[in-house]
């Protein structure tokens, strides 16, 4: 059985015009794609490739010049679809004069939630994004990372089925970024659909099931991340540490099968892994410090 489409985009074109109606920029050109229920879908591309424009067209913030958009079975201009959508904008454009609690309460009201529901949901989300201790502070006093967290909380206030995240990890430190990615995966595991756009490729690779790569408003690649990244002409083996003789033997075996050993050495962790491991250790043993070697001191 084919998975249900949550978003359908057909031949979508967006042209920005100036005050006099003259064409200024063709931001999107005949874009067509489907997003399936329960997947994490990534929109990738350099600045100006049309990622945010696509997102805003999906939300009805912009009107298409040509083409059709269906979100949750309804046209993008239909306000009622927003009942099941959560949106985290690129910058957290929130009301800076409200505190975190008031912010979530306000957005909860927009969904006609009862005071009790709003209170419970706010507490739950503030805990989820780690802002319980800053709930009474006005957003204008928040750091960029905290603003992103409260932005995410407001996007989830209605427990949405479809979550649109515009640059979700921008402005977050590696810990926050990891939390965000974990949360995205958690949302997917709960059966929710997530569409995110980012130019932080590592983030996309970590969490997305499928991606679309846009360039100058046109779709250049579309498919599963694994499929797109797989190098069909090479094979990767990971073994325990080998001696020089063992490496020579492996090369001999490979030569027997008309293959060559292209590269060998010790695999490295990602910088993110190292950072997270260091932070974790510091939390476990707060007194321990790094002592440079004597040669480094001089």
């Amino acid at each position: 059985m084919e998975t249900q489409s949550v978003i359908q985009i057909k031949n979508l074109t967006k042209i920005y015009r100036d005050f006099w109606g003259r064409k200024k920029v063709r931001a999107l050109n005949s874009l067509s794609l489907d997003v399936k229920k329960g997947e994490v879908f990534g929109l990738l591309g350099p600045n100006g490739s049309g990622k945010t424009t696509t997102m805003k067209l999906l939300l009805g913030l912009l009107f298409p010049t040509e083409g059709e958009i269906t979100v949750l079975g309804k046209p993008a201009s239909d306000v009622s679809k927003n009942e099941w959508i959560g949106y985290l904008p690129e910058e957290s454009y929130l009301y800076r004069f409200l505190n975190a609690e008031e912010t979530l309460d306000f957005y909860g009201r927009l969904f006609d939630m009862s005071p009790q529901q709003r209170k419970e949901r706010s507490n739950q989300l503030l805990e989820l994004v780690g802002l319980q201790n800053a709930r009474k502070r006005q957003l204008k006093e928040y750091s960029k990372g905290m603003t992103r967290r409260i932005g995410l909380a407001q996007a989830l206030i209605n427990n949405p089925d479809l979550i649109l995240l515009d640059e979700p990890t921008s402005g977050l430190d590696p810990l926050g970024s990891r939390d965000m990615k974990d949360l995205i995966v958690k949302l997917r595991n709960e059966g929710k659909t997530v569409v995110m756009c980012s130019h932080l490729l590592a983030d996309v690779q970590d969490v997305c099931d499928r991606i679309a790569i846009l360039y100058a408003g046109e779709l250049k690649e579309l498919g599963r991340v694994d499929d797109l990244l797989k190098e069909q002409h090479e094979t990767e083996l990971l073994t325990s540490k080998l001696s020089a003789e063992a490496v020579a033997d492996v090369e001999a075996v490979l030569a027997k099968h008309n293959a060559k050993l292209l590269r060998h050495g010790h695999p490295t962790n990602s910088l993110e892994d190292l950072f997270l491991k260091t932070v974790q250790k510091s939390q476990e043993r707060p007194g321990q410090r790094f002592v440079p070697a004597a040669s480094e001191k001089s």
Binding site: L59, V79, E91, L94, Y95, F106, R109, L110, F111
Partner: protein, 531 residues
């Protein structure tokens, strides 16, 4: 007293008012709709008008399905925004003005004039402080929301665009209500402390009549005599002749006695009797029964009030019967629920000036607070009008332009609407803008005939076209003069519901409806990107 309470009877004129509103609103809406259909047809073919109709249907659907909770949520946000952005600092300015105002109000004046100044000052301060604050808040709120894109987090929730407009208006109107009520209450206490010992705060309830002048031969005439006073509020009757001014008052039900109050002005052509004022007489008239009841003559108190009581039983000398006679005020004098009183000036060569509101029946007074807080209500209604116009204009233009637009509407509505009507009706001499310019350049005053040539005809045609535009404008621009109710209170009168409050309320609601429609379509049809 320098104001005239214009009759506005909501329960008899409501149909006319509603019809006029429907005519103006309907014709403008119809014209815009027809133009939109034609443009859509021209650009997109048959699918254009279909799309327009779909938008209209969508609009109806959105208004019908508006959620009061969401509207209140937006209103709450608006209130929080104003409070957190320190709009309430206006109270500091108010407190500062109230603390030191007493120093600058003249305490050497007559007691009643001191009261008048204090009341005027308090009410004027409340309106002058509230209106600019609300004007700026309402005109800048939404454009700022669009500029910093906070609105993106609202419109991506199930919020309809009309709910945003309604919520904003409700929020600002609530802030205005809070500010005006608080300032009004402080102002009231301040006034109580300013009243001199020999004066009191009064709230008269007048019953005004209609005024008909009779000339020196006793024939009806539109106006009395113009004594050369350029201010034509009052008209004059000649003393020692048959000239009189007949006031016809409506009478609801019999009472034991009626209190009459008047404030007439005398214009003297000679010194008259030394130490004495002009002599005046009231004559009660029932023309159906051919009855004339002259009351005792009296000297008028100029620049002050003349008070008289009409008892139920009236004794007088009947000149036709040559006998003393007693009549019943309500059974004999009142004719078809109206009481006619002729005012005569008895001094030959002297003139008595009067206007419609100069003479009235005074019903039992109301507490001063009643009239005062009605005037405060009038200030709030004006702010609601400003807020709805400000929010609406801010849906399609940026803050500074919206402020200018709303402010212009306010100024024209309060001060220049009469002038516009004079221009349109030709009462104001000098022609249209081009003719005026031509007359200025060629040094021709407005009484001189223009030469009859083709150039002048073209100029006048263009002027007529522009005056046509002005005619349209005067139907769109409201008469905001009724919102200013402080003169009633300052002059010691109650603010009449029918003349001031209902009228202002009708104007506010009349403009709120199209404002909501314009605001809704403006927000719906635009992309909410701050470009």
């Amino acid at each position: 007293m320098n104001f005239d309470a214009k009759p506005f009877l909501p329960f008899s004129n409501v149909e006319n008012g509603l019809m006029h509103w429907l005519l103006v609103f309907g014709s403008f809406t119809g014209a815009i709709f027809a133009a939109t259909i034609l443009i859509a047809l021209g650009i997109y073919g048959v699918s254009g008008p279909v799309a327009v109709m779909s938008r209209v249907r969508q609009g109806l659907h959105d208004f019908v399905n508006s959620s009061p909770k969401r509207i209140w949520a937006i209103a709450w946000l608006t209130i929080m925004e104003a409070v957190r952005r320190k709009a309430l600092l206006v109270f500091v300015v108010f407190a500062f003005l109230m603390m030191f105002a007493g120093w600058f109000l003249d305490s050497e004046l007559r007691a009643d004039l001191q009261v008048k100044n204090a009341v005027s000052f308090a009410l004027t301060t409340v309106s002058w402080l509230t209106i600019p604050v609300l004007l700026l808040l309402s005109c800048w709120g939404l454009p700022e929301d669009i500029r910093v894109r906070s609105i993106h987090t609202v419109v991506t929730k199930p919020v309809r665009r009309n709910e945003i407009v309604m919520g904003r208006i409700l929020g600002f109107a609530s802030i205005a209500a809070g500010i005006v009520a608080m300032m009004g209450a402080i102002g009231y206490v301040w006034i109580l402390r300013q009243v001199p010992n020999n004066a009191s705060l009064i709230c008269r309830v007048p019953v005004y009549g209609t005024l008909q002048f009779l000339d020196r031969e006793g024939n009806a005439t539109d106006k009395g005599i113009n004594t050369g006073d350029i201010w034509e509020f009052r008209s004059y009757i000649e003393g020692g002749t048959k000239a009189s001014a007949a006031y016809k008052f409506p009478i609801d039900a019999p009472v034991d006695r009626i209190k009459l109050e008047s404030r007439f002005e005398a214009f003297r052509t000679h010194k008259g009797r030394m130490g004495q004022s002009v002599l005046v007489r009231y004559v009660l008239v029932n023309s159906t029964k051919d009855l004339r009841v002259p009351l005792d003559s009296f000297e008028i108190k100029e620049f002050n009030l003349n008070e008289h009581y009409l008892e139920r039983k009236l004794s007088f000398y009947d000149e036709t019967r040559m006998d003393k006679r007693t009549v019943d005020l309500f059974d004999d004098v009142v004719d078809q629920n109206s009481l006619t009183i002729e005012v005569q000036c008895l001094d030959a060569g002297q003139y008595l000036g009067m206007a419609r509101p100069d003479f009235f029946i005074r019903l039992p007074d109301r507490p001063f607070a009643v009239g005062y807080f009605k005037a405060v209500l009038g200030i709030w209604l004006l702010t609601v009008f400003i807020v709805s116009t400000g929010v609406t204009s801010s849906t399609f233009v940026k803050g500074p332009v919206a402020t200018l637009l709303t402010f212009s509407l306010l100024i024209i509505g309060q001060g220049f609407r009469e002038f516009m009507i004079k221009l349109i009706t030709g009462v104001q001499k000098g022609g249209g803008p081009i003719e005026s310019w031509y007359r200025l350049v060629t040094h021709m005053n407005d009484t001189l005939e223009l030469p009859d040539n083709i150039g002048i005809k073209i100029m006048q045609s263009i002027d007529n076209f522009m005056l046509g535009g002005l005619w349209l404008m005067q139907h769109l621009i409201p008469d905001l003069s009724s919102f200013v109710m402080s003169p009633y209170v300052a002059n010691g009168f109650d603010v009449p519901w029918n003349v001031a409050i209902f009228r202002s309320l009708a104007i506010t609601i009349g403009y709120l409806v199209p404002s909501l429609l314009i605001g809704y379509y403006s927000l719906t049809l635009r992309e909410l990107e701050a470009k």
